[in-house]
């Protein structure tokens, strides 16, 4: 398995922060939609979202900070971005708790969400507008040991024949997303998220429900090998 070190680093951080928060608060996107009203006066999200007072929040999860052209970001945020700030779940969680404390000098005049469940919910809601094939799972991650497992490509090819009943091996999306050429860590994280029922789709939950860790690694390696 080819390791993408930037992602592994990220996932290790997530693993630590998410595992502690894991049990008590897993974000609920529906509840997050209500929480999001507090954000909506400045930030749009979804189809046709434009930048208003604040930038639109499509694909915010996992995005490098201050990356939308034409938005007037604060100096503080631009500096943080230059230092490598990425809006992963942990960073968003910390920022949303107390924006002015996390990022002194931010232009965002919002007091913050003190309840951790509200933060988890709104992050889960935003995740529904982030490209799910690359978004780290809001509130979910897998251990570095699992991410580091080597996948048996030949076994993955056999197991993958179960996937290609629905997912086109060309990678196209005709109503069901393409799964070829994914970063292996993303693939593994997504499969475990279905398996643990953090991701919602009854077919995927069923299919991943009986996949062992080495089988998920095998699938990730095989579908990666098919390219984009």
């Amino acid at each position: 398995m080819l390791l993408d070190f930037s992602r592994i680093g990220l996932c290790v951080t997530l693993a630590v922060s998410a595992f502690s928060a894991h049990a008590e608060s897993v974000g609920d996107p529906d509840a997050g939609k209500k929480v999001y009203r507090k954000c909506a006066s400045c930030h749009m999200v979804g189809d046709d979202a434009r930048n208003r007072v604040g930038p639109n929040l499509n694909n915010i999860i996992g995005a490098p900070a201050a990356n939308i052209d034409g938005v007037k970001y604060s100096k503080a945020l631009k500096n943080a971005a230059a230092d490598g700030l990425v809006w992963d779940e942990a960073a968003l969680n910390a920022f949303l708790e107390a924006p002015k404390k996390y990022l002194p000098g931010t232009r965002m005049s919002f007091l913050g969400l003190t309840k951790s469940s509200e933060r988890a919910d709104v992050i889960a809601y935003l995740a529904t507008y982030s490209d799910s094939s690359i978004a780290p799972e809001a509130g979910f991650s897998v251990s570095p040991e699992i991410l580091a497992m080597d996948g048996d490509v030949a076994y993955g090819e056999y197991l993958g024949s179960e996937c290609t009943t629905c997912h086109l091996s060309s990678g196209a999306n005709d109503g069901i997303p393409g799964i070829t050429g994914w970063d292996e860590a993303d693939f593994v994280t997504a499969m475990h998220a279905y398996k643990e029922k953090y991701r919602d789709n009854s077919v995927m939950q069923m299919v991943t429900g009986r996949l062992a860790n080495h089988e998920i690694a095998a699938l990730a390696a095989y579908f990666k090998s098919l390219g984009n």
């Binding site: 030949a154 076994y155 090819e157 056999y158 197991l159 024949s161 179960e162 290609t164 009943t165 629905c166 997912h167 086109l168 091996s169 060309s170 196209a172 999306n173 005709d174 109503g175 069901i176 009854s202 077919v203 939950q205 069923m206 299919v207 429900g209 009986r210």
Partner: protein, 421 residues
């Protein structure tokens, strides 16, 4: 991988006199030979996977009479006006490109002693491994008054293509306020939710085009697949149009008159404008000719889909009697991949992985109102056994139902690409 297999082959061929090698070579050809009968969900998938994965090491021949395979899956959506017939047709060009030798003919004989298949055109083909995936035929005298000679007056539309077109034409020609009748089949039959999805799609069509028409279903079963979901959908979308007569009310005691266009249910005679008779089913005839059936179906070993009667014959899909999987295109496709892996391993020594099966059946109730049921399965000594499953719930939001329908469209593209390349 390829190098390993070549080495293995070379070594085995050299030492074949001394070793009891796992492969048999057909006379005259240097390669092991697989013959597949039936180019549907099971057969097309098996042929394609064996050819593609063995990369030319196995000679694969597919026997299929039709040049265009019209899927039964989504044929109900054609009746409802959601799909065109053209969208359901698939040619065999992709299989030929994958290295399968496609012969458009009927198989009419199988001699398991000499390992030969006879075609209607007279040719004889030798095999090392034979795969049968002929789908279904109908049990004689299953519905009083009906036999296949009546299939124009009272279509079954349970094989793809022209029968489905005929049923659609009859539906469109129904007089205002007319009666559409269905005689539903007893278990086991292909596509458990199929008749009820069809009722939904016929109702959808009639609601828009002939809203005072009625649908009557005579059913020999006390309950059916996704029953709560269908009944909820019928009540919400087609209130009062559909009359389902189950076993309790004599739905199994039927007789039809294709000349007079009447249907008698438990002695009560109804005049009908369209009568869709779906008789009891059995394995496609060639399975019986090959001598691998017991009763109506062909029993198989769950680990590799080999026939219980002959280790060199495999039976896939609807024709097989395997245990808990429903007879569906998804199941046939799933079984084919397990079988292809086993056959390739037996003939070339490639790695054989444990059998793993799954199925999901989507059904459309009304526009953007899809539901699904699915399960995973494993091989036990005795049968293919269900592991786990799910079903859509009643009362789901319209967003969920729409997403389910879109997913079914994705599945259709996926499975047809998986079958035909």
């Amino acid at each position: 991988m390829t190098i390993n297999r070549r080495k293995f082959l070379g070594a085995t061929v050299a030492a074949s006199a001394a070793l009891s090698a796992p492969m048999a070579l057909a006379a005259g050809s240097g390669k092991p030979r697989v013959v597949v009968i039936g180019g549907g969900a099971g057969g097309a998938t098996a042929a394609r996977y064996i050819a593609k994965d063995s990369k030319g090491e196995i000679d694969v021949t597919l026997i299929e009479p039709t040049r265009t395979y019209y899927t039964c899956f989504f044929s109900n959506l054609y009746l409802g006006g959601f799909k065109e017939m053209d969208e359901l047709g698939h040619s065999y060009g992709g299989l030929a490109a994958a290295g399968v030798n496609v012969i458009h003919d009927w198989a009419i004989g199988v001699d398991r002693d000499s390992k030969q298949v006879t075609l209607a055109g007279g040719a004889k083909l030798t095999y090392d491994k034979l795969v049968l995936s002929p789908g279904i035929d109908f049990v004689d005298n299953a519905v009083a008054g009906w036999d296949v000679t009546a299939q124009n007056a009272m279509p079954h539309a349970y094989k793809g293509g022209s029968q489905t077109e005929l049923l659609k034409a009859q539906l469109a020609a129904m007089p205002e306020g007319g009666v559409f009748a269905m005689v539903a089949p007893p278990n086991p039959y292909r596509c458990p939710p199929g008749p009820y999805e069809r009722v939904s799609m016929v109702a959808h069509y009639l609601k828009a085009n002939n809203p005072t028409a009625k649908i009557i279903v005579a059913d020999p079963k006390p309950k059916f697949s996704k029953m709560a979901l269908f009944q909820e959908g019928w009540a919400n979308n087609y209130g009062g149009m559909i009359d389902w007569v189950g076993e309790e009310f004599g739905g199994g005691n039927v007789e039809v008159d294709p000349n007079g266009m009447t249907l008698s249910i438990d002695g009560e005679v109804v005049s009908v404008d369209v009568c869709n008779v779906i008789p009891a089913m059995k394995a496609g005839k060639i399975a019986e000719i090959a001598g691998v059936t017991q009763g109506n179906w062909a029993p198989v070993n769950a680990a590799d889909m080999s026939s219980k009667a002959d280790a060199d014959v495999y039976v896939l899909g609807d024709a097989s009697q395997q245990g808990d999987m429903p007879k569906s295109g998804f199941s046939a496709n799933s079984q084919a991949k397990v079988c292809a892996n086993a056959i390739r391993g037996a003939l070339t020594g490639s790695r054989v992985f444990p059998a793993k099966f799954s199925n999901t059946c989507w059904s459309l109730i009304d526009t953007d109102n899809g539901v699904k049921v699915g399960a995973t399965y494993e091989a036990t000594d005795e049968k293919i056994a269900k592991v786990d499953g799910f079903i859509s719930s009643t009362g789901e939001s319209s967003e969920v139902r729409k997403a389910t329908y879109l997913e079914s469209e994705g599945w259709y593209s996926g499975i047809t690409a998986d079958m035909f390349g």
